[in-house]
């Protein structure tokens, strides 16, 4: 357990990195548009985690804001943005689905070359 306490911050950060990787992998790998969208959500959450980890374990003692809560604020905004993105994204997926009854991204290749 000492190891954990010695490297508390890194643990959180690396976890975030792993989550980010998972999300990115999802974007790259999955054919299903909805799941791709979810993967992007995963990536955003990973970023949130990073923000929060850094605001709890700051590198520099005195931040300009006098507090590290701007990290929390950032997370707040990210959540809002994520919601917005999700809404638009899902709408677009619906639109695509209308034009061709499929949500498999590798079938969207009318535009190429």
């Amino acid at each position: 357990m000492d190891f954990f306490h010695a490297h508390q911050a890194q643990h959180y950060l690396v976890l975030a990195a792993l989550l980010f990787a998972l999300g990115a992998a999802g974007v790259v790998l999955r054919r299903n548009a909805i799941i791709v969208l979810m993967s992007i959500e995963l990536m955003l959450n990973a970023v949130n985690l990073t923000f929060l980890a850094f605001s709890r374990f700051p590198l520099v003692p005195n931040s300009p804001m006098g507090s590290f809560l701007s990290g929390h604020a950032a997370v707040f905004f990210v959540i809002a943005t994520a919601a917005a993105e999700a809404a638009v994204g899902l709408a677009i997926i619906i639109a695509v689905f209308r034009s061709r009854t499929s949500v498999n991204v590798d079938e969207f290749d009318t535009l190429k070359l």
Binding site: M1, F4, Q8, Q10, Y12, L13, V14, L15, L18, L19, A21, L22, G23, A24, A25, G26, V28, L29, R30, R31, N32, I34, I35, L37, M38, S39, E41, N45, N48, L49, L52, A53, S55, R56, F57, L59, M65, S67, F68, L69, S70, H72, A73, F76, F77, A80, T81, A82, A83, A84, A86, A87, A91, I92, I93, I94, F97, V103, N104, D106
Partner: protein
């Protein structure tokens, strides 16, 4: 001690659920796994003393956003055969490799050496001018005083999102 255990618990939960999200073939399972993932994350947020954010995570994400997802999935209501098999292409492999390499580099070169030794400061128990770290009051102050412009912009963003979603999802134009 307890933090460590909880961390590993939640961490494993996050990762497993995340893996579920991207490896489940049926999006509905993926969506549920994502909800779970969010819950575990909320737990980790609590460990990070981000109490308000943890709550928001559950309300906004697990609540609102995921409902939207599930709703859309139901709306499209994909048949089994429409889901299609997972295909591997060379480029997927390359992409995966790139992702692993990229995040690996970040973790190994940037995050790893970020804290020489143990973190010097731990804000978990910090009492800010506006109360406990990560508490509603404190974060609120930061939001409304510290970052006014982003906050206002967010409202604009949400409006744009609504209009955009409506325009895109609306019938034929």
């Amino acid at each position: 001690m307890a933090e460590a255990i909880l961390f590993y618990l939640f961490a494993i939960g996050v990762l497993v659920a995340g893996a579920q999200v991207i490896f489940r073939r049926n999006p509905i399972y993926g969506a549920l796994a994502l909800v779970g993932c969010f819950f575990f994350l909320a737990g980790i947020y609590v460990l990070l003393a981000a109490h308000l954010i943890a709550i928001l995570q559950i309300i906004v994400y697990a609540g609102a956003v995921m409902v939207l997802f599930v709703f859309v999935i139901m709306l499209l209501n994909l048949k089994e055969e429409e889901l299609g098999e997972a295909r591997w292409t060379a480029w997927k492999a390359i992409g995966l490799a790139a992702v692993v390499a990229g995040t690996g580099v970040i973790a190994w070169r940037a995050l790893g050496p970020a804290y020489p030794g143990a973190p010097a400061i731990d804000n978990a128990s910090l009492q800010t001018r506006w109360g406990a770290f990560g508490g509603v009051k404190a974060v609120g102050y930061t939001l409304y005083i510290g970052s006014l412009l982003p906050f206002e912009l967010t409202s604009l963003l949400l409006l744009v999102a609504v209009v955009a979603a409506v325009v895109v999802a609306k019938g034929k134009i």
